[in-house]
Amino acid sequence: MLDKNGIAKRIAKEVQDGFYVNLGIGIPTLVANYVRDDIEVEFQSENGVLGMGPFPFEGEEDADIINAGKQTITTLPGASFFDSSTSFSMIRGQHVDLTILGAMEVSEGGDIANWKIPGKMVKGMGGAMDLVASAENIIVAMMHTNKRGASKLLKKCSLPLTGVSCVKKIVTNLAVLEVTDNGFKLLERAPGVSVDDIKSATEGTLIIEGDVPEMAL
């Protein structure tokens, strides 16, 4: 079973040389820490920066240079700043190659719910609806089950949707799954996790073909 950093580490392997990547808040943010050093990747943040670097050294924080999580950041050589409209042109126009974001629920049809729990405080969708409606390549990073132990990989989402038929791949603490026309196809097991463990934690249709390898990290 993976912890949050393990999930981030596995997702980092999906990041290819030359990719522009948008990372959501939470587990996705951690992905930046595990991307291979020998490939070139640029991180975009929808508030208007391309070429994000690490957090600043103490004392060097700048209120005018933040990411979409409102955290102080730095930029790397080759970076650029731009307005919100241009930022979403990058996203909507599919210039961003990979979007990694968290979710509360994913359906076997690739629908995603990650912005609202009715009856509870709603914080808003931020840029998530634009990202999921636009991106060709969306990976969801999340725990396989919620705090009450209920599956987050469902036949149909119960929460208000963020986007429809958009998620391509899911990496959880238990498995790597691909969204196919027929349901969640199990690609890899997390270390020490059995196919049965994954079966019992997945409410949606699970497709298992042959031996399912344990993921390499």
Binding site: G48, A63, D64, I66, D83, S85, S87, M129
Partner: protein, 232 residues
């Protein structure tokens, strides 16, 4: 050169009234028009509809207007991190319309650029698209979203000149350029207000034609919302 300079925030905000619709630049607390917001609190105008990506925090940004119950409706993409907002929203005092961030930016830009509406894929199949016209182009579904109509746009820039030309710094740019000229009157507050000729015409982010009034902001706190650092 058409001079857009006004003496200060008080002159810049002449004409603001109860029940108006305002746009505010900024993302989180970065690049927000601090001086205009402070003066709106002082003026006490009420019943406002505010278009802004976020709603500030309890004691800063638009949170200050919320504390005084000056806001009737918020149109935003993300409103977390604000207890008073949550209280007013749950109690029904505050009307909240949440829309995707890219849609928010483009509805501003549409108003600025004279487009009545846009087709965006964002929100299709979700409650955001409920009651809205949808349409297929090339096998993909889009939602029709209309240009905003606002009375004032309040923006904050780093440098500006008397012709109203603006330059922003870092990610404090965000929605500010898209809101310039998107309301009947655009008010820009700047950290540094220069005479014309000081800015390179190649390097203007927002040409002065989109700005009606410009003033030098007396006080910029530039508060950091999430101070994240690494060790040396």
């Amino acid at each position: 050169m058409i001079n857009k300079k006004v003496a200060g925030v008080s002159e810049a905000l002449q004409g603001v009234k109860n029940d108006m619709t305002f746009m505010f630049g900024g993302f989180g607390l970065s690049g927000i028009p601090e001086n205009s917001i402070a003066h709106l609190v002082k003026l006490g105008v009420k019943g406002l509809t505010c278009i802004s990506n976020n709603a500030g925090v309890d004691d800063f940004g638009l949170g200050l207007l919320l504390q005084e119950k000056q806001i009737k409706k918020m149109i935003s993409s993300y409103v977390g991190e604000n207890d008073e907002f949550e209280r007013q929203m749950l109690s029904g005092e505050l009307n909240v319309e949440l829309i995707p961030q890219g849609t928010l930016a483009e509805r501003c830009r549409a108003a600025q650029a004279g487009f009545p509406a846009i087709y965006t894929p964002a929100g299709f199949g979700t409650e955001v698209a409920e009651g809205k016209e949808t349409r297929e182009f090339d096998g993909k579904m889009y939602v029709l979203e209309h240009a905003f109509k606002a009375d004032f746009a309040f923006v904050k820039a780093w440098k500006g000149d008397e012709a109203g030309n603006l330059i922003f710094k870092g990610t404090a740019r965000n929605f500010n350029p898209n809101m310039c000229g998107a309301a009947k009157i655009t008010v820009a507050e700047v950290e540094e207000l220069l005479p014309v000729g000081e800015l390179d015409p190649n390097q203007i982010h927002v040409p002065g034609i989109f700005v009606k009034r410009i003033f030098h902001g007396q006080h910029f706190e530039k508060r950091i919302e999430q101070r994240t650092v690494r060790q040396r």
